[in-house]
């Protein structure tokens, strides 16, 4: 069953002469983990903005086509209502956190929904626990490391109990280990709670192992859509997709005559195949 249904979606920002995304048609099934990637300026952030109604309600411009998210058209529903269904995590957590304590930040969403006190409290507890920052509840967000801030931002969104989580390059300000940990948290949301994930990410070396599906965009259009091992091809590389180094190495070695039954996405997969070729 699909939770996101985009039909002939085209959007042109006010003042721009050409559309940032054009004629996109795609759907995402409930519980899917989708990685959305492509070269800078390809339109992936604009797609995210359509999913929670920031386009067209906040960003002005011309929208054609439609996106149905969890049964509602983003044209009709205001962002405030879509926010209950679609959680949005930004690249820079500093843009999203504003309270003097992590706990207050996480409680802000449920309080605004007018939920009873005890339910708000339960949701805050749960959201802090899921991302592993219960112990930081009384700290001010600005005192935290980038990774901790991003966990706080994810918790704040989780407390709204959305069905779909959209994350726009959530790891780009983080060091590699913190980035890997954040992606593990996101993977957990998908696996444990069946949450649908749309993750915009350049760090495909870290994200690919969790993805059911990778959508690659270029110049406002979807050009490849499939399992990670299928879409990381020459075409993807030529337009500037940073396919995992390990996959790229395997592709080169395949040209040199080595055989891989499927393109490896992780070091372990590549290592197993290579060991067979090299072992005496």
């Amino acid at each position: 069953m699909s939770v996101i249904d985009a039909r002939d979606l085209t959007f042109t920002y006010l003042g721009s002469s050409k559309p940032s995304i054009s004629d996109l048609t795609f759907s995402v099934n409930r519980g899917q983990f989708v990685v959305l990637t492509g070269p800078s300026g390809c339109g992936k952030t604009s797609v995210c903005r359509c999913l929670n109604g920031l386009i067209p309600h906040f960003y002005s411009g011309e929208l054609q086509g439609d996106v149905i998210v969890c049964g509602s058209s983003v044209r009709d529903k205001p962002t405030s209502e879509l926010a209950r269904k679609v959680g949005f995590v930004f690249q820079n957590p500093e843009n999203q956190l504003f309270s003097l304590s992590v706990e207050r930040d996480v409680a802000f969403g449920p309080e605004n929904l007018g939920l009873p006190r005890n339910e708000t409290r339960e949701r805050v507890e749960w959201a802090l626990e899921v991302t592993g920052i219960s112990s930081l509840r009384d700290r001010a967000p600005y005192e935290l490391s980038g990774g901790q801030q991003q966990r706080a931002a994810i918790s704040a969104v989780l407390a709204m109990k959305p069905e779909v989580m959209v994350l726009d390059e959530p790891t780009s300000f983080l060091d590699p280990k913190s980035a890997a940990e954040i992606l593990k948290v996101v993977h957990g949301l998908n696996r444990k709670f069946g949450m649908t994930i749309v993750l915009v990410e350049h760090r495909l070396d870290l994200a690919s192992q969790y993805a059911d599906r990778v959508i690659i965009m270029d110049k406002g259009k979807i050009i490849l859509d499939g399992k990670p091992s299928e879409v990381y091809n020459e075409r993807a590389r030529m337009i500037g997709v940073g396919i995992p180094r390990i996959t790229f190495l395997a592709q080169l070695l395949q040209k040199d005559g080595l055989t891989f039954s499927s393109m490896p996405l992780t070091v372990d997969e590549a290592s197993a195949t290579l060991r067979r070729s090299i072992s005496p």
Binding site: S40, Q91, P176, S178, G240, V241, L249, S271
Partner: protein, 273 residues
């Protein structure tokens, strides 16, 4: 040469962010400063152009103490490109943005025009010359910030996380561009935690953790040291992990990039046959 001697620095609130940094970066060197979030990397490079002055210790640029020069004067030699381009961009058009510093440094109109056009071309920004920087994507704004600093041709180019938000082709281009600067004998210092990018440029790597230097050496040595990287919240490049997983088959252990790994592995396959 940029030199720091027992550099300590503390912000008004909190303890020392830098705890006695002793460092020499020679002319025409290419250096990556790596370390975990909060290690003090950005604080350190802000000392190089005098934005920060040491609480204790000393920083000299070409033998002159940064406390004895204004930031504006040091900036002519040390160009710093911030991590967040929005901290640095403010003009109406991309072209204006790049021309701004040149005008401030008093260049004539013709030079400004020539340099602006050339740097926009090099960084693949010509098509945006008349656009507002704020209509561009994050990755593009980042390149505008870089262009505006490179335009005045500083002797030292200091880049704070230049690869953030850049896709692979742009990183490729950025790498070639940096290597070109290095071959023109400029000193390039970059703060980054993009291990894959460093693995492909192979600069001298200085590892910083909690305000102290924990390692300093060639990229292929430092990026293959799992324990050391782990301490700094960094991860080994995928290629290096692969080589390590095949260690028992006698593969070389300081390989960090795809092309060297390809050659090593083909060699190993040939040996078996």
């Amino acid at each position: 040469m940029i030199k720091t001697e027992m550099l300590h620095f503390a912000y008004p609130i909190g303890g020392d962010v830098l705890k006695g940094i002793d460092l020499e970066i020679g002319d025409s060197e290419f250096v990556a400063i790596m370390g975990e979030n909060g290690a003090g990397k950005t604080t350190l490079i802000k000392h190089f152009n005098g934005l920060h002055k040491p609480t204790k210790g000393r920083v000299t640029v070409d033998d002159i103490d940064t406390k004895k020069r204004s930031v504006a004067s040091i900036a002519r030699d040390v160009g710093l490109v911030f991590q967040n381009p929005d901290h640095q961009l403010f003009c109406e058009t991309v072209k204006e943005e790049v021309a701004f510093s040149l005008r401030n440094f008093g260049y004539d109109a013709e030079t400004i025009e020539r340099r602006t056009t050339s740097i926009l071309e090099t960084l693949d920004l010509s098509q945006y010359a008349e656009s507002s920087p704020f209509t561009l994507s994050g990755g593009e704004r980042k390149r505008v910030a870089l262009a505006s600093v490179l335009a005045w041709n500083p002797k030292y180019v200091v880049l704070d996380e230049p690869t953030i938000g850049q896709d692979y082709l742009q990183k490729d281009r950025l790498r070639n561009f940096i290597l070109q600067l290095v071959s023109q004998r400029k000193t390039v210092i970059m703060v980054t935690h993009d291990v894959e990018f460093v693995a492909e440029c192979k600069p001298r790597v200085i590892l910083l953790s909690r305000g102290e230097i924990v390692a300093d050496g060639p990229a292929r040595v430092i990026l293959s040291d799992e324990a050391l990287l782990d301490k700094c919240s960094l991860m080994r490049p995928q290629i290096s992990s692969l080589m390590s997983s095949l260690r028992d088959l006698g593969l070389s252990q300081d390989v960090i990039d795809v092309y060297t790994a390809r050659a090593c592995l083909l060699e190993a396959v040939k040996r078996v046959k």
